[in-house]
Symmetry: D2
Subunit: 381 residues, 4 copies
């Protein structure tokens, strides 16, 4: 959406959380930085715990953030769902520190002379899909619903050139044991009977249908190539900017687009890269360079100081054979946890960030090419 004589100004504030119920740093950010709570577009965070379905740190953090926003915006926690994208990812292993990133967007009036000019920084777009039925999870219906919602969010962000898009984050629904039991008694056919995050898990099917939806919306994937049979099978279909996740508590897909826009007034600029293998750091460096940092091998200490945030997904490799040896992570009971630890360690070692958003642990995905994953970096201009 383009507002005449106005331009978007986006702020990004990374707030630590000392436990999943601790929103004191978020509260302080509102007070000290004079943020209008009505301008909050998204809260994207990490909570501590196992990161598994029965880890309730995620739910607790989500609840506390929601209650705080409701209070500040003078509305109900329920109403927040339709107004702000809240995506808390559970599990902060290794170097990953629990936190919440506030994404705030205001529109400032500009002179006619300034029209179309700006920092080239980021703009945000938000949208939601309709409710996704259990029998549509992991199937073309979810692909199409996501694709439509992404187009709306792109439109809201006023993005015309797809190459300006550096992250499309979608949080959507997954199956639950209850849904599976119900479908079994109804004779309804679901894409899988495993609600979890294993190779046949509904979270993988949902994440991947949404990732393909992102790819279709951005023109990275030809819709004609997509059928139910290609989801989680034809790994040549992928998006380089999709970062999708899912949970049994969600009904619809919530979309957040992060793009650069010439007339943005934001002091932050986005970029993205794609890792090429499990445990490889070049994709992270690409993302930093794409966001505007100019370095040869590693960012300097000064450049590290400019890195505001990294959003990345680290999924498991498609097979146990890697270029440099047979990894055993596919048979590892803690693979969901270890994948995030691996990603976090590499991001930390390259950027110095500990409060980066590191999600992942699912089996191979349509987010990035086989074995690789998208990484989005945000730097201060």
């Amino acid at each position: 959406m383009r507002h005449a004589h106005m331009r978007p100004v986006v702020d990004l504030i990374v707030c630590p959380m000392n436990n999943p119920s601790d929103v004191s740093f978020i509260e302080k950010a509102f007070q000290e930085q004079d943020i209008d709570p009505l301008n909050v577009v998204a809260v994207i965070g990490k909570s501590e715990g196992s990161g598994l379905p029965n880890d309730y740190g995620r739910l607790l953090a989500d609840l506390k953030v929601r209650e705080l926003l409701a209070q500040l915006r003078d509305t109900t926690p329920q109403a927040i769902s339709d107004e702000v994208t809240i995506a808390i990812s559970g599990g902060s292993p290794g170097t990953v520190a629990p936190h919440a990133t506030l994404l705030v967007q205001r529109w400032e009036e500009i002179d006619v002379s300034q029209e179309g000019e700006g920092t080239g920084g980021i703009v945000l777009g938000r949208s939601s899909t309709r409710d996704i039925l259990p029998e549509h999870i992991g199937r073309v219906e979810q692909v199409d619903a996501t694709s439509e919602a992404v187009k709306l969010a792109l439109d809201e962000a006023g993005v015309s050139d797809i190459s300006d898009v550096h992250m499309v984050l979608v949080k959507g629904p997954a199956l639950t044991y209850d849904a599976v039991t119900k479908a079994e008694s109804n004779g309804m056919d679901l894409v899988t009977k495993d609600p979890g995050i294993g190779p046949m898990g509904s979270m993988c099917f949902s994440n991947d249908a949404m990732a393909i939806g992102v790819g279709v919306a951005l023109g990275e994937i030809d819709r004609a190539m997509v059928s139910n049979a290609s989801i989680r099978r034809d790994w040549n279909l992928y998006s380089n900017v999709a970062l999708t996740s899912s949970g049994g508590e969600k009904r619809k897909g919530e979309v957040l687009v992060v793009a650069n826009r010439r007339d943005s007034g934001s002091q932050f600029r986005a970029g993205h890269g794609v890792t090429s293998d499990f445990g490889e750091s070049d994709g992270i460096k690409q993302a930093l360079k794409s966001a505007g940092l100019d370095f040869d091998c590693c960012p300097s200490e000064e450049q590290k100081g400019q890195i505001a945030q990294v959003f990345a997904k680290f999924t498991l490799p498609p097979s146990s054979a890697t270029k440099a040896g047979r990894v055993t992570v596919l048979e590892d009971h803690e693979a969901h946890h270890v994948a995030k630890a691996v990603g976090g360690a590499i991001v930390t070692s390259v950027t110095g960030l500990k409060m980066a958003f590191i999600s992942g642990g699912e089996a191979n995905s349509h987010m990035g090419p086989p074995g690789g994953n998208p990484v989005c970096a945000i730097v201060k201009i």
Copy 2:
């Protein structure tokens, strides 16, 4: 030990293992590379599994390596214990690939004219402590026994200048539940009642007494500063080259020294560095530079090809507060596993190695300064 008119030639061969009972690549190495089995000094490896006390992958790998060596050397598996240092570390999370590194040393005759000349590559030294009693684990008796054994190994390696020493690996004993139960009924006082790897675990006490022993032998630690009270308390006492580990199945400490020696005929050179924080990569780069690679920020692809092996320990940080945020790894039930995943990911991202030796997961240690750890790198000259 210096042999007149002879010089040591050390080879290092990294062999993948497709499961803990797979010694086929080791067998092939002997056949194809014309290695005399009697020259094997040490086998240092990683096995897959949880890496916990009741992970028997470690025992299985140890058994199979021992049986193979016994067969090749025409002796019994039992006899191997006194002749070869076998140290298998359990747990290969994330990018870490199961493998065994053979360290082989032969003595070649040289001309008088060559005396004292060589590649400046590595030399190995081996020794053992006497049996360490349960009540001496984690106490000064273990410190002193280790220190004496390290001196013997240094002597065997013919090392005169301590700055040439880049790794002192020691594998020693830990308490078992049986030992604790027995001590309790005897009224014997042990350093702890926890056999495990937590902050009061006997594995930490044993590793740390041995690390201090290494530091004393090398002059890094003043023996007069060491009492029972300082072990796992006075963190200013530490060694920069000690890499110690322990297990309930061991009775004595087995020592392996890796040093450079001017007249070595080896094509491999060692170096070491020390990490300064959990999730930091500079210590790894220091080790590579110390071993002779000359680079500014990152090793080039060609230089990566020269890296033969990295031996590193990644322990947990001393507190949850790090420079860049509150990490939650101290409260993580899988911290033992995650610490290795973090270390492995950083080593892989810097070096490209997947079959590196990454051990760790204990609480803060006397191996390196608080929060940091020694890293040893071996490069082809």
Copy 3:
């Protein structure tokens, strides 16, 4: 406390919870059963999750129960701490179903003629210790503070005969990593540096100091026999009715006494038993018999219908040798979880209950004799 012309009437309502934030069944109980919220004495429950320190299901359930009670009693969640004992134990493995047991006590006026007469059912007593300092955890100071608080609670319950006491539940403080780090930098001496639940864990030390405090208050343990050296060492000191637990978030010990009283008007009667070995069911049957069920081998289906609740602790055996074989649970990384699963399975198989309160998983304790544990049963008269 005895109220002239009044007698206590205790109700016990077991409410399922469909997830840790679900207090809908508790809310319904208040509505449908006409309970005065001001009469709630305690809420004792189980939440799902790993049951480990970083499982936040416990905190979430506690928060939601607290908020509901505050709303119903027209006060603040903070104020509830001083008025109601809330003890949520994390981890509902195997047959154990998440739930909350409401314990409600009202005082009804009686005729002079009825004075001293009643059902012989239960009465409740509540009290708290002062704040326990970190350096007093697991030591005689905590023993004495607990003992005094238990005496207050006994007094409040109006119990004169100790043999009428069937459970003294105490929820108290444990160390945290922050407390340990702080003590280390202050040179303060703590009982342990391990905050956790292993054999040297602060949760075990705290639970055991409190259990001994209960035993002293009830005359089961001679105070003269108790010193710092005997805590977690002299296993002959134990209580047969103590059920203690601890958490880093608590500052003081909250005490709940459940006893029978001749003039009680309650329709519920308590009893207790003590298990003699890990995986043994006789202690549970003893508790049921002690509460008034008369059976030979197993309760009948009708008698099972009378069983209102079971509160039990299942700790780990003191050694791996049991009468019938070497169990491996001491080396089991999931022992905390498995111990509850074992206890829950036995309680379920004997009683048919799934929403029983099954806590445990720590190493051997002063709650019950070595290898055994107290069990409290409540039956409908």
Copy 4:
């Protein structure tokens, strides 16, 4: 197979194992009990560890048992595979103690007058399927191959009346990640892409195809009702005596039948029961009664002394709703471990046995009715 003038005499010896490589008790049993190693039909055991695919305790125990038998029978470990059924199940949580049960059968000559007479004790039958291809796992091809092999084993055992059969144990193949990767690149269609034990895991599909195969062979299941679509979907098809398990290292199904036979000379008699719900003990009592113990509610201490062994499977319930509450085990990351702990605790509490064979942890199965499982008991006559 019936041998004229001969009758089978079966012995059953339960040997503890102090770790997965400890076969000393088995060795001692051969020495002290004068067992001819050539008469060993099966070794069925439990090893300690996580019980997950990358728990190598199982492989180590299997290897050591195999090597011992090879040595005693003067053959190679490889040859043992075709001669003896070795089934080691990993994971000994809670009360379950690691052990191996030797099943030994000799044929003794008898008089014509004794023909057809005996103790009515047990007889054993063994057989194997052909190799099962990856694409046939979990499908009718595996059902039929198993069914044929079971008929051979019944024939070998000389069983004519199906009601005499109390256990058909089958150990068969499962998919591996390598097999899945290979199939994906070949375009081959497998029943699942998940090698594991979750609701879509290949171990469940394999176990269930084999269980249906057992049911077909015994006439419990009508072959006409079985199609690929009914496997893991039509839960009305089940066997009451099948106890199947699988592993990626197996190629064919190895079958062991345990039945009673009128003319057996064995001092052991078998029986079976079926549990009706997760955490229920009646099925175990039924099995004991079926094997000949006569009791009302619980076996007496003397009768407990007669119980030689229990073989049982404890799978997860079909949904989280049970008669007595919502269990959370389906969402439990450690469900595989906890299910065995639950089963072991109930078996121990009823029988006093700690070295019982308790397998399980998979999702709902065709072994027994929904939520229930077969239990086989062996008692001394």
